[in-house]
């Protein structure tokens, strides 16, 4: 029996690896700006010990002014050393950790379900469902920080559970939980709160191992010390971009409250009474609650997912539609029977909390940790459905298998055909081709100007040209003024200039000079000035190149 389980697990690992490593450098098509930027920063640290801003061994990457947590970038360094600065080196750490997280989930579910008689099937099911999960696959194959965070978080959780038998695992728990905080912003909320819940749940045996626990806590604190010290120097290192996307920076709630208070005024309600009913704490609480539950609605989970690029999976949600039955069944039966239900529910709620605190909801990325409890529930749901014997067990198992086969095919078609061919703009396709063109022709031009629609084009120039980091640190012209989204731009380096101000066609005609190359999006360079076009795979224009 045990041998059979190991064999199936190995097959699941093979499948997991195949799905995550297959043509990783080509799919998704196009390197997203965050991916290219992290890759270049890793390259810069490898070569000079400093990031693109000249900061030595940063504990937070300033990047585009969004202060990215650095762990994923540091993990890229050995791969860049071996493979060079390429798409594969940038994406491989996340993909590998995605594979390891599937294995980890197997052991975690086994630990959580304890000695239940179906634990073999349940654990394998959970690992399999995570292996084929569209949500998990999408994040494993990209560099959006959350895959690294999930792995270290799961390892921390598993180590904590193991420390019941051997207190030494508490040290591994401390290290990995601390590393998860270096991985992603959301973990700065999730990890401490989850640790608190674990303390409450398992207080009795922590009390027995209190010395080890406090030593481990101290170890975790020391690992986090550089981050805490950097906060004293630069407050943005702790929360960075979070403050630009938080609900509290969105005017929606404030405007609504203002409207209601004005109506109270018209109805001659006393100001203090009006404030009692219409106040920011209540207004924001309801708003956050609403955003929280958006992540548990069928629209997000099964039909549309996150529509914001680059997290959109065309024509589907973050889970397979076939799981629409198994998920509620799994939740129901799990809550009925399992002694660890509170921990899993707490994990689900905490996973969604960071996303609920932003105004860009529902969010595929910020609620990513929720994939683990959801997969757990779905595995439970399938296990229970088969055990209930509505149909003979074998027939039911085959039916479930066939349904999943179709679902996986549907997802793979959307991911490998629809997404790169019809929605490659999501992944900012075209910059590699642009850099190749510029490299072939740049001797002809004394200035190469990028119009605002090209976004963070500088990062692609650096990445694909493997521009010497020490040179870029000296040459880069920046004023560190954030735009309305909170991003900081490079104004220029070498002969490259990056316009921030939008210009219409007439203005462009006036300023264009001889020996200058202009690069812009579809609506930025008129047809008569466009000499070269870079197309998306579906034939639409990605970038225009113009010169006199």
């Amino acid at each position: 029996m045990q041998r059979r389980i190991w064999l199936i697990l190995i097959l699941i690992i093979v499948l997991t690896s195949l799905l995550r490593l297959y043509r990783l450098n080509h799919y998704p098509s196009g390197l997203y700006s965050d991916e290219a930027n992290q890759g270049y920063n890793a390259y810069s640290i490898l070569k000079t010990g400093k990031d693109e801003h000249g900061i030595f061994l940063p504990v937070t990457l300033r990047s585009f002014g969004d202060w990215k947590p650095p762990l994923q970038t540091y993990l890229m360094i050995p791969f860049i050393k071996v493979f060079g600065l390429k798409e594969i080196s940038v994406r491989l750490p996340g993909a590998l950790l995605g594979i390891f997280s599937v294995v980890l989930t197997y052991f975690l579910v086994k630990k959580l379900t304890g000695a239940e008689k179906n634990s073999g099937k349940l654990t394998l099911l959970a690992a399999f469902l995570l292996a084929i999960s569209p949500w998990h696959l999408h994040q494993s194959r990209s560099v959006m920080l959350v895959m690294v965070a999930l792995f270290f978080f799961l390892l921390g959780f598993y180590s904590f559970l193991l420390s019941n038998k051997k207190a030494g695992f508490l040290y591994l728990c401390a290290i990995t939980f601390a590393l998860s905080i270096y991985s992603y912003y959301g973990m700065r909320l999730i990890t401490p709160l989850f640790l608190l819940i674990l303390l409450i749940m398992y207080y009795s045996w922590i009390k027995l191992n209190s010395k080890s626990f406090f030593k481990a806590l101290l170890l975790g604190f020391f690992i986090l010390l550089p981050l805490l010290l950097s906060f004293l120097k630069e407050p943005d290192t702790i929360f960075g971009r979070a403050k630009n996307v938080s609900v509290f920076s969105d005017q929606g709630v404030s405007l609504k409250l203002w409207e209601l208070q004005s109506q109270d005024g018209v109805s001659q309600v006393r100001p203090k009474v009006s404030l009692f009913f219409h106040n920011k704490p209540y207004g924001y609480s309801i708003d956050i609650l609403k955003r929280f539950f958006l992540h548990l609605q069928a629209d997000f989970l099964f039909f549309k997912g996150d529509t914001a690029p680059p997290f959109k999976i065309p024509n589907m949600g973050v889970l397979y539609i076939t799981e629409i039955f198994f998920l509620p069944v799994g939740v129901f039966y799990f809550l009925k029977k399992n002694k660890n239900r509170f921990v899993i529910i707490a994990l689900l709620c905490l996973s969604i909390l960071p996303a609920a605190l932003t105004f860009m909801t529902p969010s595929h990325n910020r609620s990513f940790n929720a994939v683990i409890p959801l997969v757990f529930f779905m595995a439970y749901g399938i296990d229970v459905t088969i055990a209930k014997r509505i149909l003979p067990k074998t027939i039911l198992a085959i039916l479930v298998g066939v349904i999943y086969l179709f679902s996986i095919y549907y997802y793979l078609n959307n991911y490998y055909v629809v997404l790169p061919n019809r929605e490659s703009d999501q992944w900012l396709y075209g910059y590699k081709e642009l850099v190749n063109y510029i490299n072939l022709n740049d001797v002809k031009y004394k200035n190469i100007i990028f119009l605002p629609g090209t976004g963070m084009a500088y990062t692609y120039l650096l990445f694909y040209n493997q521009y010497p980091p020490d040179l870029f640190i000296k040459e880069a012209v920046r004023d560190y003024t954030p735009d309305r989204f909170g991003f900081e731009h490079v104004k220029g380096y070498n002969k490259y200039n990056f316009f921030e101000k939008e210009r219409n066609n007439d203005q462009l005609r006036t300023i264009m000079g001889e020996g200058e190359l202009y690069i812009g999006r579809e609506n930025e360079i008129p047809e008569d000035l466009t000499k070269v076009k870079i197309f998306y795979p579906d034939g639409k224009v990605a970038l225009r190149i113009g010169y006199l």
């Binding site: 109506q263 309801i286 958006l294 548990l296 629209d299």
Partner: protein, 289 residues
Amino acid sequence: MKINLLLILVLGLVLRFGYLGSLPPSTEALLSGRFISAVSGFLSILLIYLFCRRYFNNKTLALFSALSFTLLPLAIVENRINSWVSVLNLGVIIFFLLLTFKNRWLNITGLVIFIIVVYFYRNNLWFFNNTLSVKPGNFFNNIFNLISFNKIFFSNDTYWAGGLRNYGMLYPESIILFLLGIYQFLRERKKLSIIIFSLIIIVIASASPTYPEAREAGLLMFPLSLIVGIGIQYFCEWFRKGKKPFFVIILTGIYSLILLYGIINFFHYYIIHYKLRVQQENLFINKNF
């Protein structure tokens, strides 16, 4: 127990009949229709109590369900306008109540009353006047929209006159009670008839060619009040079982205050903001209002 029921009925009386002609604003011609709705709503409170007494054999649950219906945002909105949904809802409750008796003639009487009410309001029910024209994709979309957290707790995306835009069918603060209630509800199979009824209403409303303006969804106020009532009872039973740590008692107290605050906030919104909107948009000109 009787005093509790009396208090709930008095509350129901106030909430259904208090300022009925002016809240929301109205014309004299509408008063008779509104009065019928209010009477239906008030009677529904008593009948829900009686139904729960018999169906669940539990007086406390019956009180909680009746209280839940008394305070239900959807019920308050429907019971205070000229609403066929209120009357049809009463017919549904009578039907279920009479079904709880072992007497066949009472069962048949309940069914007949239900059929009469449905027939009387057949012009308002889409399936009497239209053919099924909703596309399968839209149908499933509508189902999941109707049972979404957004629709149940947070907002109302309809434009019909009685709807409060910033509220769903239930208070957002009652989410925990609702989830507890659903869980307990599904655990006991003898409540199958209520579950089946709820599913039928969801399907009918989702298949409506006018969705999200499908007023049939208002018939969910009966099962929703049961679910919340069950949730309250489960919560109270859990709280009473064994000695609870101090912080749990504090948290429960805080939650109760938040729930109370949410209910009071709803009534402020109903009395001030909803009234203002109705006045500004002249919604009471609509004869069904």
